[in-house]
Symmetry: C2
Subunit: 177 residues, 2 copies
């Protein structure tokens, strides 16, 4: 519901400023006073995996949100629906554990999705504490659309870091999924 920005972000959104890194001289210590951020040396920060990953994560997140803005689905919502769609009848606990999110957080997520008639909580008969999660008919249809857009987002990632690098990345991080 934001969309107020209406920035000139095209749907392709790739190749904006990747190779900016001008091989300029390192910011000289002492007298030099780099005012432009482009000239600021990072020193020890480069070489930290966490920093690079954080920046990349932010970029990916924003592109995902932007690409799926028309359907108003955020990454976490998408992951929840995907898991439920692939494993109907899961309990909230199971979904939370699988996605590594707090079950407390999943409550709000599902409230929202259920309010939009995408997901249903059905009381389990075998365990009256838990809910069996299912996609609604509309939810299934919608998820198909979401997946299309998510695939488009994935193409943006390819454009940004290269197809081979993306696959390599997935391979390296396969242990965390």
């Amino acid at each position: 519901m934001r969309a107020a920005g209406e920035k000139k972000v095209t749907t392709s959104a790739g190749r904006n400023e990747l190779p900016t890194r001008a091989p300029r001289k390192r910011a000289g210590r002492g007298a030099a006073r780099p005012d432009d951020a482009d000239e600021v040396g990072l020193d020890a920060l480069v070489g930290h995996a966490g920093y690079a990953v954080r920046r990349f994560q932010i970029w990916i997140f924003q592109d995902f949100v932007r690409t799926l803005a028309s359907v108003d689905i955020r990454p976490t919502q998408y992951s929840v629906m995907t898991v439920i769609g692939a494993n109907p009848g899961l309990s909230q606990m199971a979904v939370a554990k699988r996605l590594g999110i707090e079950r407390a957080r999943l409550v709000h997520l599902l409230d929202s999705l259920e309010g939009r008639k995408l997901v249903r909580r059905i009381k389990s008969k075998t365990d009256r504490r838990s809910h069996a999660l299912h996609l609604t008919a509309q939810g299934g249809l919608s998820l198909a659309k979401f997946k299309q857009l998510a695939a488009e987002h994935e193409r943006h990632v390819e454009e940004k870091i290269g197809k081979g690098n993306r696959e390599r990345l997935l391979q390296i991080l396969a242990g965390f999924t």
Copy 2:
């Protein structure tokens, strides 16, 4: 939880009924329904770079916080001090731009660091709007210690994904730093 032989991704577009596992601990559920998160298929989620990166980012973040817990320094604080240490005299705007954080947010960050006598805001004489940021003597000493711990954290990353993979990762994501 590595989900080793996980190849239950039946590419046939239809439903992929999970391979019937013998019901383990809990009383039989009647229908084949995975209760344990370990058995839950992710389907389309695997293959999404954003998901893998997010999980990895969370892991890295937590390890960083844990490794630097003794000095009570969080990733963002570390990045701010590193940049200031490498480029003394920077303005808040320059630091914020370089690290990709909001200048509004940097205010609180610096309030905290200045309160701990690690950095100083010195009024610029050339531009009385801005502050020149410097590490205090204690801040410089502390940063050296922080860097040691950060290097230890980085070793944890190596242990987790492998030395070569870590370097490849940094290489792939170099454009985002």
